[in-house]
């Protein structure tokens, strides 16, 4: 499933430029602790969080994540969006909670990074 389809079906607001929306999403990960994201999320994952600090972009860039979905209507500052555009990390926002977003992603067949056959297996065998 592509990010574009996910954005449409979850009615997410795209806050960055129209780039990388047709990339295939490899799975999903949700956490607000960036240290955990750095250890657990995998390339191509969509990351669901309510953190909107500038550091989220660097973490997503480092891991080559497909996108960041910022939940609960948290305000994403201009410097964060600017950096995200620079490095090509789509940021999408929603008033929905992380629980709701993850539930709907699961219904759509986006697997958690740690599920059998999920991104963990493919990337590292963990």
């Amino acid at each position: 499933m592509t990010l574009r389809e996910i954005a449409k079906r979850l009615e997410l607001t795209l806050r960055t430029s129209e780039q990388k929306l047709d990339a295939e999403v490899s799975g999903g990960y949700a956490s607000d602790l960036l240290s955990c994201v750095m250890a657990k999320a995998r390339k191509g994952n969509v990351w669901v969080t309510l953190q909107s600090h500038l550091n989220i972009v660097a973490v997503a860039e480092l891991l080559q994540l497909a996108a960041i979905i910022v939940t609960e209507g948290m305000a994403v500052d201009e410097p964060t969006l600017q950096k995200a555009n620079e490095v090509g990390i789509p940021i999408l926002t929603t008033p929905a909670t992380t629980f709701t977003v993850v539930g709907r992603l699961t219904q759509m067949g986006i697997a958690g990074a740690d599920e059998p056959g999920g991104s963990w297996d493919k990337m590292t065998g963990q």
Binding site: D32, L33, L34, S35, C36, V37, M38, Q51, H53, L54, N55, A58, V59
Partner: protein
């Protein structure tokens, strides 16, 4: 903790400087400063602020008025909620003898709307020192919550908790190299106070401690192993 007992414990540990850093509040700092009067102990007024990223930052000042003025800014950025004594426990304000003065009814155990960068900058502008608290902890810490030190943030130093090893932290996180470390107790009880940070300074002021953190003019800071 009762002010005279804090002073007594500090003297047992032969501490020269302590800071009172309640969570999002500075209402008890004056009492401890008064309790330390006549003792060879400097009590810095301060606060442990919880930012909107749920990162704990220590804010240290020279004078009580600075801490109370900062407290006004912090209170204005807390959600207007009341503390629930049954869940979080009552929040006492006490005098220098530890006698009950009043309850603080504000919900303190939450985050302000300021970001990490905004707190660090505001404290610096107010002439204080902003120190990222217990960065080795798995929660409420800069490294756990934000993954790494946000580039360009004006921290005066980084604090380790008692168990942490400064050498190991530096080895695991090369980006911490440019920051001074302190180690302190994050003491919520008297027996959690500790004596691991050695400051080489002329007098116990924010300006001198800032110089020690920068390693200037012969001032130094060193963390001893626990």
């Amino acid at each position: 903790m009762i002010p005279p007992l804090i002073v007594e414990r500090a003297e047992q540990l032969a501490l020269g400087v302590i800071a009172i850093t309640d969570h999002n509040s500075a209402e008890n700092v004056a009492a401890v400063i008064e309790a330390a009067r006549g003792h060879e102990l400097t009590v810095l007024p301060g606060m442990e602020v919880q930012t909107r990223e749920e990162v704990h930052l220590l804010c240290l000042f020279d004078r009580v008025e600075q801490a109370l003025s900062w407290q006004e800014e912090v209170y204005a950025r807390l959600p207007p909620l009341e503390n629930n004594d049954d869940v979080f426990g009552p929040q006492f304000v006490v005098d220098a003898e530890g006698e009950f003065l009043r309850y603080n009814h504000r919900l303190l155990l939450t985050s302000v709307s300021y970001s990490v960068e905004q707190v660090a900058e505001a404290v610096e502008v107010r002439g204080g020192l902003c120190v990222a608290a217990h960065i080795d902890r798995p929660s409420y810490s800069l490294l756990a919550n934000l993954g790494f030190v946000p580039p360009g943030t004006h921290f005066a130093a980084l604090e380790l908790s008692r168990q942490a090893s400064a050498e190991r932290m530096r080895a695991q996180n090369p980006m911490l190299e440019r920051y001074a470390f302190i180690a302190s107790g994050d003491a919520h009880r008297l027996d959690e106070m500790c004596d691991q940070t050695i400051l080489t300074i002329e007098e116990p002021t924010i300006a001198e401690i800032a110089m020690a953190f920068r390693g200037e003019n012969g001032r130094r800071v060193k963390v001893m192993r626990s």
